[in-house]
Symmetry: C2
DNA sequence: CGTATCGTTGAAATATATCAATCGCAGTGG
DNA sequence: CCACTGCGATTGATATATTTCAACGATACG
């Protein structure tokens, strides 16, 4: 891991934190301006841990480039990925003292890191910032709740379709999706096995819904068909 | 649904909101005292809707007695219950304008209702309350994330065991659990079918882990065995 | 006491997991 | 430039947990 200061960066442009979600009741934009120049830039290698479950949540992170997974594991190694964080996304923000999940770099990536205590101190005096922090947590909650529906009640095909649709939704008008994560990561995110994920990709391609250009590049051929599969 | 004022009640005793979770970084207790006497008491009948997904989130709710389920449904009727809320629990608190899930009374129940705008107004001036509201959302997020692990990676038996263990954990030292919800509710919470839930209960009883006194009353015979099944 | 609703149990079907082999691509070294 | 190697992805065959379909039982209620 390497560190360098990045005074010009702005860890708190919350507008981009979760572009797929509807706007929350609060407008974090105002608060963002207060945080020009905060944070240090760090680089992480593939599979490097950024923080671990149960560790003190002393920092807040923002993805500059690359991708991050947050996850939990059971004793016997079964893993559930809670979310993927792509460029622009915030992660690691906790109301409590400790991290509830672990975070790892999916590939080599650059991360902006900011002390939590700084934000908390400022938030105690700035209601706008306080609301922005809350809104960020609320967005994560909304994503988690949508994911509960997926894991609890959707078929393998619907899970994969929902996943691809959500990724496509992040770049509106863009039917070309680059998968930063492996099949194992996707499987652990969708509550499936790699084999089922692979088979489902193949099936979607056979049905003319998507086209695969190498296993990390998906082109959505029929958005309508994909959304129909989403349920 | 019936309404009556309850000046002596305190919707904001957040201490009891989620007793199974570890204490968050903020201490809501101080903020709670600010809210003596807020809210109106309402009663809901079995299966009555308290609020619907997408509706304006103008109120915050607290369970006085009975139980509430929050859930989402897909077009074809598949339902995923996000959480159960028992006496003392807060629910319906949103950072955004709209409810992300629907809420229904599981049985006849009494609910304390408080205007959200009141809380928001006060929170803008009270950092403590602001933190308390945030902590409440963070607790919900933590519960959702634990549930992701359950739905994505645990077996039917582990799901049921985890569910029973969590319920028992709400009344420490109490091995007697009263199930306020039907088998269908449990199934929709655990991402299973009623039949599988029923069979799993039977199996746990056969294995000497639990004892059933009628389908709504469970006695945990071996806490150790139950926790081992939890994984 | 009859009726409705919910829960349990059984048998069969099926979606997904598991086990195992092959494929394909990227990097490496001859 | 081409074989070699290694790891991830795909495909196939089989196993299995859970669902589905169906019948029966229990409990609550009027």
């Amino acid at each position: 891991m390497t560190v360098q200061h990045a005074r010009s960066a702005n860890i708190y442009d919350l507008r981009q934190a979760s572009p797929t979600l509807p706007p929350a009741g609060v407008r974090p934009d105002d608060a963002c301006d207060l945080f020009q120049g905060l944070g240090a830039r760090m680089s992480f290698d593939r599979d490097e841990e950024i923080f671990g479950e149960g560790e003190p949540a002393d920092f807040v992170y923002r993805v500059i480039s690359g991708a991050v997974r947050t996850y939990r594991v059971l004793n016997d190694g079964r893993r559930q990925i809670g979310d993927f964080h792509l460029a622009g996304d915030l992660f690691g923000l906790e109301a409590g003292r400790e991290h509830m999940l672990s975070a790892e770099a999916i590939g080599r990536c650059d991360i902006l890191v900011c002390r939590r205590s700084t934000l908390f101190g400022l938030a105690a005096r700035s209601p706008d910032l306080g609301q922005a922090l809350w809104a960020q947590t609320a967005r994560e909650l909304e994503r988690a709740q949508a994911h509960l529906m997926l894991l609890g009640r959707k078929s393998a095909c619907e899970r994969v379709a929902t996943f691809l649709g959500a990724l496509a939704g992040r770049q509106p008008g863009n039917r070309e999706i680059t998968l930063h994560m492996s099949r194992q990561d996707i499987a652990d995110y969708l509550g499936l096995t790699i084999e089922t994920v692979s088979r489902t990709f193949t099936q979607l391609q056979a049905d003319g819904v998507i086209a695969l250009n190498g296993c990390r590049h998906v082109r959505i051929v029929s958005i309508g068909a994909l959304e129909r599969l989403t349920e």
